[in-house]
Symmetry: C3
C-alpha cells in the first residue's frame, strides 16, 4: 500500500520530468535579411526573451531581396520534414508598412506559419491545406516598448508572436481574429500534359549546383511512359523566348552520363529536374527560375 503510494508519486514526478523535457517548442526562421548584420540575431534574442526553452533554427536567410515567390517555394520544400507543431516565421516583406495583413496560417498538417500575407503562403496552402488563418492582433501581439518602431515587423511582431505561440504563452486562438480561409496567392503555370507534351515552370534552381528544378510531379511525368535511359527533348523558355533546346536521357544516377553532359532526373521532391553531371546547367545555359520561366518536355524517338 505504502509502496504503491511511493510508486505512484515516483511515476507522477517521472512523467512530469519527461514532459518538461519533451515539449517541442521549435521555431524556424526564414528571411531575406542575409546574415551580415544583426537583424536575424535580434529576432532570435526576442524569441529567447519570450522563453529560453525554445529551440531556434533557420530555414534560410538568403532569399533574394523582396522575392516572395522564392520564400513561398522554400516553405513548401521544407515544412513537410519538420514535426507537426513547429512554428515557421517567414519575413520577406516588400510591402512593410502598407496594407498587407500579418497572419498566422495553421496547415492541415499541424504546422504554423507566421508571415505577411503577401503571397508567401501560395504554395504551402496548396500542398498542405489550410486548417485555419488568423490575423495578428498587434495591439496584443507586439513586443512591449516597440510601438514607435514601424519598420521592423520581423522582430517586433513576427518573431515575438511566433515565439509566444511556440512556447505556449498564447494558444493559436489568441493570435487575433479568424480570417475566412483565403490568402493572397501568386500566379504561376501549373504542370499540364497535352498532345504528348508536358508543360510546366521552373519555380527554383538547386542553386548550389545549378540544377533546374521544375514543378512537374512524378505522376504527370509518368504520362510520357518513359523507361530509365529513354531520351527526352527538352525546351526551356523565358517568357515566350526559347533559351535552351536539347536532348538528354532520363536517368536515376548522375554518373550514368559523362561529366558535363545533360540529364533529366527526379529530384528529392520527386519533381522533374535537369542537370549537367558535375557541372552547372544554369550558368552554362543562362537558365534561371521564377514565374516567367517555363519548360516543354516530349519523348525523343
Amino acid at each position: 500500500m505504502k509502496t504503491a503510494r511511493y510508486l505512484s508519486l515516483f511515476f507522477l514526478l517521472y512523467f512530469l520530468c519527461i514532459q518538461l523535457n519533451a515539449q517541442n517548442k521549435i521555431v524556424v526562421f526564414q528571411t531575406d535579411f542575409g546574415l551580415k548584420d544583426g537583424a536575424v540575431s535580434a529576432m532570435k534574442g526576442v524569441a529567447m526573451s519570450v522563453s529560453p526553452d525554445l529551440k531556434l533554427f533557420d530555414l534560410t536567410h538568403e532569399i533574394p531581396a523582396y522575392n516572395i515567390w522564392e520564400a513561398a517555394y522554400r516553405l513548401q520544400q521544407t515544412i513537410p520534414y519538420w514535426p507537426a507543431g513547429t512554428v515557421f516565421v517567414s519575413v520577406v516583406d516588400p510591402g512593410v508598412g502598407s496594407a498587407r495583413k500579418s497572419v498566422v496560417l495553421k496547415t492541415k498538417s499541424g504546422h504554423f506559419i507566421v508571415t505577411p500575407d503577401n503571397g508567401t503562403l501560395t504554395l504551402i496552402a496548396q500542398s498542405e491545406g489550410i486548417e485555419a488563418i488568423r490575423e495578428i492582433d498587434e495591439t496584443k501581439n507586439r513586443r512591449p516598448g516597440s510601438a514607435e518602431s514601424y519598420t521592423f515587423h520581423g522582430r517586433d511582431v513576427y518573431a515575438y508572436t511566433g515565439a509566444r505561440l511556440a512556447a505556449g504563452v498564447i494558444p493559436f486562438e489568441n493570435v487575433g481574429p479568424a480570417l475566412p480561409g483565403k490568402i493572397i496567392t501568386l500566379d504561376y503555370q501549373q504542370p499540364v500534359f497535352e498532345n504528348n507534351i508536358i508543360r510546366g515552370n521552373v519555380p527554383v534552381l538547386d542553386i548550389q549546383y545549378g540544377n533546374i528544378w521544375t514543378n512537374i510531379d512524378k505522376k504527370t511525368f509518368a504520362k510520357l511512359a518513359l523507361n530509365n535511359g529513354d531520351s527526352l527533348h527538352v525546351s526551356i523558355y523565358h517568357n515566350k523566348q526559347k533559351i535552351y533546346d536539347g536532348i538528354m536521357p532520363y536517368v536515376t544516377t548522375f554518373s550514368t552520363v559523362a561529366a558535363g553532359k545533360p540529364l533529366c532526373y527526379l529530384n528529392s521532391l520527386l519533381n522533374v529536374s535537369f542537370a549537367l553531371n558535375k557541372a552547372n546547367f544554369s550558368e552554362q545555359h543562362k537558365v534561371y527560375s521564377g514565374a516567367d520561366w517555363s519548360v516543354e518536355i516530349r519523348k525523343y524517338k
Copy 2:
C-alpha cells in the same frame, strides 16, 4: 499531515525540475571568421565541452576582416534584444598576439561581452553603460592543453571563458582582476544640430538592401520639425568630398514613393536612414559606411 509532507516533497522536486530546465545559459558568437571553414564550429565545440546545457547562437560571422568598428556597431544593434545574463563572445582581433587586453565587460543592462579590448566595446559601453570590466586571467581561463597555440584566442580563451561564465562554472569575479572602468574607444562623429543643419555619420549599411543608416537619432532629427511627407536636402560626404546630393521626402512607408526613388525614414533602431524604394542606394550612389563617412541634412523648402 502526511499529505502535507508529500505535497512539500512534490513541490520541492517540481521546482527542482523547473529550475534545471529554466536556466538561461545563452552564448552568442560574433567574429570575422566567415562560415567557410571550421573555426566557428571549433569554438562551439569548446563551449559544448564546457557544458552541453549551453544554448549557442550567432550574431554574425561576416564582419569584414579586421573591421573593429563594424563589430562594435553590430553589438550595439543587437544586444538590447537578448535577455539579461546573455554572454556575447566577439572576436574581431587584428592585434592578436600583441599587447591588447582580453576582457569581459558587464553592462548595466546585465549583458556580458567577452572580447579583445581593441575598440569593440566603444558603442555598447556608451549605450548600455559599464557595470564592471575584468581582464581575463589566462593562467586560469584558458582551454586545458592549449598553451602551445598562440594564434587562436577566439577558441582557446574567448569561447572557453564565455562558455564557463554562461554555464556558471565560474562567477564573473573569477574571470580575472577588475580593471578601472575605462575601455579602448574608436573616434567617430557624434550627431549635431547647428544652424538648421544636422550632421552625423554613416556607421553601417543595411547591407542586404543597400540602405544608408546614420547615427542621427529620432530626438536630434525632431529639431528639424518635419511632418510626414516633407522634403529634405541630403548631402553625403566621404572624408570632405561630396559623394551624393539630393532631395527626398521623409516618409514612414517605403511604398509611398515610386520604385527606384529615394526616401528618408527612421529605421528599426529609430535612426535616420536613406533608401531607394525596391533598389540599392549604396550600390547606385557609391555610398558606404565607416568613421570617414558623414551626412548633412536640412529642410528643403
Copy 3:
C-alpha cells in the same frame, strides 16, 4: 528511518532529472549544399522529428561543390574540439546513387562520422584512429516513406541515421554490418624533411583572411632549428610550376611585420602557415589549396 527513505527517493529523482538533462545528444552537420535553399533545414527537420531533445549544430555548408578533400580537412580540423559522443553528419557526395557505401565511422576518440565512404574519412581516420566502421543498412535506417526518393541521401539516410544514433534510438551496432577497418582514402603529399629542405602540401586556405595553411607540423618544422625572427626561403608550386618565391621571417605575432609584408607562423593547429599582415596572401600571389599544391621551405642565411 522514514527520513532516510525520503532522502533516497529524493536523490533517486534528483539524479533522474539530472540524467535527463545531462545527455549529450549533439549532431554536427557538414555539406556542400550552401544555405540558400531548404536542404540543410530539411535535414534538421528530419533530425528533430527523430528526437526534439537533440542539439543541432553546423560545421560548414560552404564546402565547394563535390570537394571531398576539403570535407575531409574540415572534419579533421574541427572534430577534436567537440566532446566524445558527438555525431557528425558529412554529406559531400558527388557519387550519390553510385556504388559508394554509406558508413558510420567510430573514431578511437569516441566521435562518430556518418558519411558516404568516398575519401571524406581520409584525414580523420589518420589523426584520430579507427575504432570501428559499419555500413548503413538502408533497409532499417532510412526515413520512413522515403524509399521512392533516390537523390537526397543526406536527408533520408545520413541525417536520419545520425539523429537516431545521437538520440540513442539505435546503438552503434544497429547501424548495419561491421566492415573491415579500411576506408577509401585520397592521395596527398606527406610532409618530409630532406637535405635541409622541408616539403609539404597546402591542404586548405584560411579562406577568410587568405592565409596559406600547410600540412607541415611543428615537429617536422623544428628540424630547421629556427629561432623566432629567423628568415625563411619559401617556394610554392602548383603541380611542378613555381607560383611564389620569397623570403619571410618566422614570427609568433602578425604585428611584428609591417602591414602587407609576408610572414611565417604556426597556425591554431600548430601547422606551418604563411600570411601577409592585414592583407590576403592567396589573392595577391594566386596561391590556392588542394592535393596539387606543394611548398618547399629552407632556412635563409
